[in-house]
Symmetry: C2
Subunit: 228 residues, 2 copies
Amino acid sequence: VICAKGIEDGTLSLMSEVLEAELPGQPRAVLSGPTFAVEVARGQPAAVTLAAHDSRLGERLAGAIGSRSFRPYLSDDVVGAQIGGAVKNVIAIACGIVDGRALGENARAALITRGLAEISRLAMAKGARAETLTGLSGLGDLTLTCVGSGSRNHSLGVELGRGRAIREVLAGRRSVAEGVFSARATVTLAERLNVEMPIAQAVDAVVNREAEIATTIDDLLARPLKSE
Amino acid sequence: VICAKGIEDGTLSLMSEVLEAELPGQPRAVLSGPTFAVEVARGQPAAVTLAAHDSRLGERLAGAIGSRSFRPYLSDDVVGAQIGGAVKNVIAIACGIVDGRALGENARAALITRGLAEISRLAMAKGARAETLTGLSGLGDLTLTCVGSGSRNHSLGVELGRGRAIREVLAGRRSVAEGVFSARATVTLAERLNVEMPIAQAVDAVVNREAEIATTIDDLLARPLKSE
């Protein structure tokens, strides 16, 4: 059961693709969803996506790990269940920047919505189904990470939004803000698949290429208006 | 341009249906999305859905009301653009209850996700497209209302979650918590359209039929596990 999240640097593989390359032909499943570990450990209610190609494997696992307070929802979309967790941290940095600059809750809600739209485009280009991204591993995890008080990536964004330099912020931290690495991998994968991801590109520019935040936001807001 | 949100008591009509009954054949559009008014008034960035059957009308309106900080995204799904705004307050009360009982951020994220799933089912039964509900008028507005600090419906739920009785909470308020009325209209419409909305039903039971909160939450958590 894959619980790790991310896109492998260099190969741009999802964790299921890494597993298939290392242990070909083994049965596998993906567990992902909005789950701050400390709350799960306390027995507070949580719901997750459990994805497996083999539906009997999925049901067996759900029976083994599910409980009244930890509720797995089954899916067969192994790819879709991985994309949300891999890219959410990038959008969370963007939401942190918006919060750090005090741009308001409307702006943050719009960013979460448009962020999910670009995550879904990437997922569908990788063969996922749209409804997986509006589920617990997509929207659920994204919402938690973008507004939850315990997200390292969001707090990194807040510090950037308040005007601190990225080098300075990273130097002062012991824990990893995965979004910094995920931003580059996401943007590279999106370019390879010809998917437009303006928010991820903006975050990558800010955290990996020292782009100026005010100008980057101006560029995002100046994009032509279009349909949803 | 319809800016009012809700389902008419008794007839269960959306505002576009009310308008069509009162002013038949007039051109119309719907504006909806995550927009706390005070932030818009300050000129902080916001993005909204602007829906019209007539795409030229939509474009003309977008040109008239759009600006650098107020960005309308066009849609032709007039029905879909109304459902999110009509039902979000019901889910916001549920999120407030979860917060008032300190059930955690995982539980709230799951509730937003499963809440959007049931809003989408209702919308599609009314002829809307799924992607409208994952847009600004659906997911965007729902996120803002469920976690935003300025939502009256969320704060009503918080008081209920802390153990105050609904009569007592309503008696102490001057402003309207629309979700109390919307819960009943939503559940009645869902029953008529044969759509399963367990969260809205639970909220309606708590706010309109004095159901006990702890038992109602237990019933929600005891639902059989299923696919996303």
